[in-house]
Subunit: 343 residues, 2 copies
């Protein structure tokens, strides 16, 4: 078959929503074909809008997590945190949020009010106002319980210019805390797994870490990204390609909690591919790396922050992992879908 | 059962998504309980945001229309028009749009590209830029094909202050064209009905009518509302309540095309409860009513514009219909769901 015929016969698969290679292809080869937008082509999690003289960060996400309630959070807290964090990752101070529901007929009102309470509490913590909304109801079997879209608007802090294209050779790469707990918590709840240790989702708004960080270190902060779908591996590969740089990671200093490590070992999962919903990666000028690390480590929610790698001179767009055992391997993003409906 | 117990046992029904009384109750008694926002409480289709010194209109909608392709449009053109029009109804010039998909596994790539092409064409016509997006894929049977959320941002024109609370006694009420075609076109396509006459959805962005109207008549324009879910009956009842006024409509001058009237007669549908996706209601100072009507009538897309009623002194929040046969009746909004998944 020719490429055109293959495309015609193609169907959407779960892998197209994975955050991995298949999703990258869908975005680059299908979506970007249709829209001539520099902002969209940047493939950051938020767009920068210029309105009058203001620079705004604008981000959208639909949440389809299954199950809707899980240890450490629920679809409501996740829907607020996810979009708030995407606005923050663009250097925006989150201000306004929209909220749009698709609800399946028969969904319990009690669950809806529990989710609304969670949205209220998380929005309060993130200091963002819910200002507009929409509710659609579809018939039984036409959706799976509830899906929530949130779209956020924030003002980008003066002097801040962060984005996936801005990684610079020499940058230190810092992760704000231990990775992978969100993915494991949701997966375990979905599959009824009893896990050793208390694994709770890390989902949380990152305001209290990100805004003071930007105020203090300003232009020395080059890239921020929350490693959600596809995890740290996907986020770093995307940044390496966008900035045309190479990245080297040190596996030994990547923070993963003991219970998450144990589950990953048993199930053969790579913590670097697991989604987080309350962690971020930050690329900073090496001159301030120690100060940034010490600043983050002093915050309760970032106490496990660690400098995990740096940007190298190569323009390969590749991520190299120096393993615990002294080896070197290329860290690719996952090809397909490891954990569907994780956010 | 006590009210609290009733609420606990309650489940979401299709009527909660109808745009009618049940949906009003859900919004007022459940959603507004959780969010202390003046903008949300206004219940306009867009919120007004103040950022620095700019006034922005911000609106979100998720589209779940079934079927996704119908005479005169598809879920893509609808998703752009719907949100663009909500931004316009708040007096905003639409600038930026986000696009978030929930797609069911197995959805044909060909249908996706057809929808993207339609989104591109409609966004171009509405002069709005798609700047950010999101794609989620759920398993087979976990959604019905494709759902699309769009969220739009626009700048409110200087001197313009429109909203559901601003209707003033004496205002003339003008509708921009014949009503109900969108509802009938989608319903007929869904049910495989062969209709007499060519009934196509009216779905279209309203920029070319609304922006010049606002520029020309400015503060004389008090309220704009596109009568989508629940139709003209719901829109006018909402405005009457929000502004604490009475409204009187003249049935004889409400424009309904012959084919739509014929279908409504056969099926027992009230055109005043049918959704439009390319029409708007505008409340203007009576001094400019004739000029507004003549201005609109000169535009191709508003050639059937008509002055259909006026605002009366009573603070009843009621809408009275003077019928063709010389009678008077209260026009209520529909109680439940006449046409599910119409947008």
């Amino acid at each position: 078959m020719s490429d055109a015929h293959k495309r015609e016969a193609e169907k959407i698969t779960l892998a197209h929503g994975s955050g991995g290679r298949m999703m990258q292809r869908l975005i680059r080869e299908v979506f970007l074909e249709y829209f001539d937008s520099t902002e969209l082509a940047n493939l950051d999690d938020a767009a920068e809008l210029i309105i009058d003289k203001s620079r705004l960060a604008f981000s959208t996400d639909t949440f389809v997590v299954k199950p809707i309630f899980f240890p450490g959070g629920d679809i409501g807290s996740l829907a607020v945190s996810g979009t708030v964090n995407d606005v923050l990752m663009k250097g925006g101070c989150p201000l306004y949020l929209s909220l749009a529901f698709v609800i399946e007929e028969g969904f319990p009102m009690q669950d809806l009010t529990r989710i609304l309470e969670s949205i209220r509490a998380t929005a309060k913590r993130a200091e963002i106002d819910v200002v507009t909304g929409d509710t659609k109801v579809v018939g039984r079997g036409e959706a799976d319980g509830i899906f929530i879209n949130t779209t956020g608007v924030g003002v980008i802090l003066p002097g801040v210019d962060v984005g996936g294209r801005n990684a610079k050779v020499g940058d230190a790469i810092i992760v704000s805390g231990d990775i992978g707990a969100h993915g494991i918590a949701v997966m375990a709840e979905r599959n009824g797994l009893k896990l050793e240790g208390d694994i709770r989702s890390d989902a949380a708004p990152l305001n209290r870490a990100v805004l003071p960080l930007l105020e203090r270190f300003g232009e020395a902060v080059h890239v921020m990204r929350d490693p959600t779908r596809g995890g740290v591996a996907t986020a770093l590969n995307e940044i390496a390609v966008s900035s045309a740089v190479g990245i080297v990671l040190e596996e030994a200093v990547i923070p993963v909690s003991e219970p998450v490590t144990a589950v990953c070992d048993i199930l053969g999962l790579d913590p670097l591919c697991l989604p987080c919903e309350g962690r971020f990666l930050v690329f900073v000028d090496p001159a301030v790396a120690d100060d940034v690390l010490s600043f983050l480590s002093d915050l309760e929610e970032c106490s496990n922050a660690s400098k995990i790698g740096e940007v190298k001179g190569s323009s390969s767009g590749e991520v190299q992992l120096n393993t615990v055992t002294g080896g070197k391997r290329l860290l690719d993003m996952p090809a397909g879908e490891m954990l569907p409906r994780i956010c």
